[in-house]
Symmetry: C2
Subunit: 347 residues, 2 copies
Amino acid sequence: MGKYLFMPLMLQVLAGLLLTSAASAQPPIAVAIHGGAGTITKANLTAAQEQAYLEALNRALDTAYEKLRDGAQGLDVVVDAIVLLEDSPLFNAGYGAVLTHEGAHELDAAIMDGATLQAGAVAGVRYIKNPIQAARAVMLHSPHVMLAGRGADAFAAIQGLELVDNNYFTTPRREADLRRFLESEAAQTRPAVDTKFGTVGVVVLDSFGNLAAGTSTGGMTGKRWGRIGDSPLIGAGTYANNASCAVSATGHGEYFIRYQVASDICARVEYLQESVQRAAQYVIENVLPKVGGDGGVVAVDSSGNVANVFNTEGMYRASIDANGRRSVAIYRESMTQADEPADTGEH
Amino acid sequence: MGKYLFMPLMLQVLAGLLLTSAASAQPPIAVAIHGGAGTITKANLTAAQEQAYLEALNRALDTAYEKLRDGAQGLDVVVDAIVLLEDSPLFNAGYGAVLTHEGAHELDAAIMDGATLQAGAVAGVRYIKNPIQAARAVMLHSPHVMLAGRGADAFAAIQGLELVDNNYFTTPRREADLRRFLESEAAQTRPAVDTKFGTVGVVVLDSFGNLAAGTSTGGMTGKRWGRIGDSPLIGAGTYANNASCAVSATGHGEYFIRYQVASDICARVEYLQESVQRAAQYVIENVLPKVGGDGGVVAVDSSGNVANVFNTEGMYRASIDANGRRSVAIYRESMTQADEPADTGEH
């Protein structure tokens, strides 16, 4: 009987060794998603709205993570997850994007490949259903990094991307936002609407060790004069470099351009050997608040460490790091959640 | 007689002390200008062309330096010097800008204030005589950093900037460039024209210790689809920060965007404590050549050290550093001239 006991034990040890070996052979993967930062408080959201945001974030997160686990390329995962967010009316990107001063939609998006530092971006496009796909097409199928306006729409058409009427993007919520914005403007008061938030972004570490970042937005409610924010600007709202990190930003874009938020976080990681969490916190919590730069970032480094950092009351966010720690959250109190084990009850 | 000899000597010493004191009380000022980098060789330029370029560079340099010496604000000096270059048909900016694929002009410009990190940019504008003035107007008179296309033209009109017909910018030289470009395209051969050079830029240290940078360009000959290059992108072609340096770039813009050339040079100065010369050389001579990124930069730090660095055969450039060392040059052999005393016979 000792013999029989001994044999299964051997098998168990052997099986355990094999499992451990298989687990450690799995390359690290990680993903972090944001859906905008701003004056997002529990008091400002109904239970149903909160539930809808959490569902949309969880869905994008699960989709991205499963694809990464199945060996998809990081760039494809970024695009697919952002398409889900663009197609959701909840976020200020694609369907559900905010309206310009003239009542139209002008959309921006960018993507960057941390392995090759290839990048693509579109700005001020009006007819591309999923601007993030156009950003990828610019990167892969043009000699350029950034295309703007009607030229970018024409390029997307040649690339066979799905085009829609500009009013496809319109939702009652954004019409109400613009109405309130124009009323405030006429009354010369501060806009009674959070004009500049809701941008979406995704950063990933894929199973090949490559980082990628993407961002998509409708910009600011009531924007004029062909304003371009940080989202489509490589280095400002979007940056990825295998040597440091991948970052997607959301917030008051003008500050993110001036302070080069995405590439500065990566420069601090590369040149000052800061962790991605520390670098992101320094820029978002120290540099930007001094000048009034509201917003946040999601970031991931090449070991799969994730940082979700913001200086506003809330940021829609979701992440799974290289240790499998999952975090889906909205409000400030759970800001450091990404560094904690999951099961905080918020997803 | 010993007494009479003694007195003047005393006076001379006194006068010398006063002069030294006055000289050392003068705050350092510096300026560096580029007019584009590319396949610029002595064989490619006639003596008359060479003379014309040197005269234009010297004129912009003298204008800028005199204004700095007279206590002008760095931002104003950058704008005034760039206006001179925009108004010259020699450079690919303003009058004399290259033509797009459709035979039009779409101009880009950016400016940045190193003291406040305020910045302004316009992209794809068609009717603004001096795009650098529009970039400054965006910085000073709009809540935005970057405006593009017709919206940016409309904003400039409201600001009272001088507007011109799009064909104001056209010169026979650029028409010939486009003709050759389209012929090459039809024959599916490499363009027989240097498509992407001639951008102008100015960086200064003013007498208040503030850095500023500006860049203006017509972009690439034959560009399409609303292509935006690095010049109007803060961090890519233009950056200024009193904490590090001011940079203006010229070259194959797509690489300057992907590698964040202007802000990376400043990050290396700030985070790695490299000299501005070393940082510029690292990025332009080490990083970019590996990926085929042709071009160059002018840069200045807050002590008035100047760097003029390029990886092409030539770069139109002119500078005076804080020690009064003047350099005006075109070809590669005199590349390190900015670090040498003047009187090399080339200006």
